[in-house]
Point group: C2
Chain length 151, copies 2
DNA sequence: ATTATTGTTGAAACTAAATTGCAATAGGAG
DNA sequence: CTCCTATTGCAATTTAGTTTCAACAATAAT
């Protein structure tokens, strides 16, 4: 999978916009890792590799990368937005540890049933669902138990 | 239901904090409507009723009101956080129209099954789930169809 | 190849949400 | 009532995100 660049290039061209080295650097850096990311992190990663791309350019290009369906917003945390890949990643939801921040991705077919049921009941044309399940992972629960904080 | 005030009062006392007229005004105003709300809106509602409570006090008290389980964060939209009642409101999820902003609250028992399944599979102690289902409501779909935008 | 058009860039200014420092005030325990 | 210290309003600050602007560069036309 190194197709993101080509896809984004053609998306940009089709919109009558221009392919620039900055756009290439940004999209490459985003897809150089499979993790969830945020703007600041991405900016630092680019800088560390010697790129001179500005934060303004990242902020300006993220909406385009979302529009091209390569990434999407996942959650707003610590005062800023976080993103993840869509391309090459398939639909999934998140199980998150409130203590250590661990994230587990999962897919549950029943959610599509629920979606369908809701669409019928409330006469909605449903585009997507986002389920976040939050709690304590096994490590964090063990630590808490050892410390005697919770049951 | 006018019990929120008493509950918050005793929560504040138990924490060794102080009950003030500002806290009373804020909690009363929050529970004077059943709608989702944000800080600015709440501030304006208070001012219109002649309250002199500052925004800083609202920002300082919202975390306490959340800690007392009377309200919670629902979603971050238009650059700021939105909240909703928990007390007197029961757990529910949201179906939202991406076009007009309409929000429908629903409860689906299958979600608790999914929760349970995930807890077992990934060894998590689950605290809660949040499901947002987004799409177009029937009115918005009709308008779009009339305008010939989508199928 | 040259030129014209116009989208893109980095830097800096700006906006708005949320937080914090501070001096004045006021709960509430004793 | 007295004292201790939490809370308040205000203003300053911080930070995410947007916008302005002049220099630049991708692309199409000539
Ligand atoms: Mn993910
Ligand atoms: Mn709700
Ligand atoms: Zn954990
Ligand atoms: Zn609608």
């Amino acid at each position: 999978m190194g197709n993101e660049i080509a896809l984004f290039r053609s998306f940009i061209s089709k919109k009558g916009l221009r392919n620039t080295p900055e756009r290439e650097e940004i999209i490459k850096e985003i897809f150089s890792s499979h993790d969830h990311f945020d703007v600041d992190e991405l900016y630092l990663r680019l800088r560390q590799k010697g790129s001179r791309v500005s934060k303004a350019s990242i902020y300006r290009n993220i909406p385009l990368i979302m529009e091209s369906c390569l990434i999407r917003e996942v959650w707003h945390e610590d005062g800023h937005m976080h993103y993840e890949h869509i391309y090459g990643h398939g639909h999934h939801c998140h199980l998150r540890c409130i203590q250590c921040g661990k994230v587990i991705e999962f897919v549950d077919q029943d959610l599509f049933e629920i979606e369908k049921r809701l669409g019928t009941k409330y006469d909605f044309e449903i585009l997507e669902h986002r389920l976040d399940v939050i709690g304590y992972c096994s490590e964090c629960r063990q630590h808490a138990a050892a410390a005697g904080d919770r049951s």
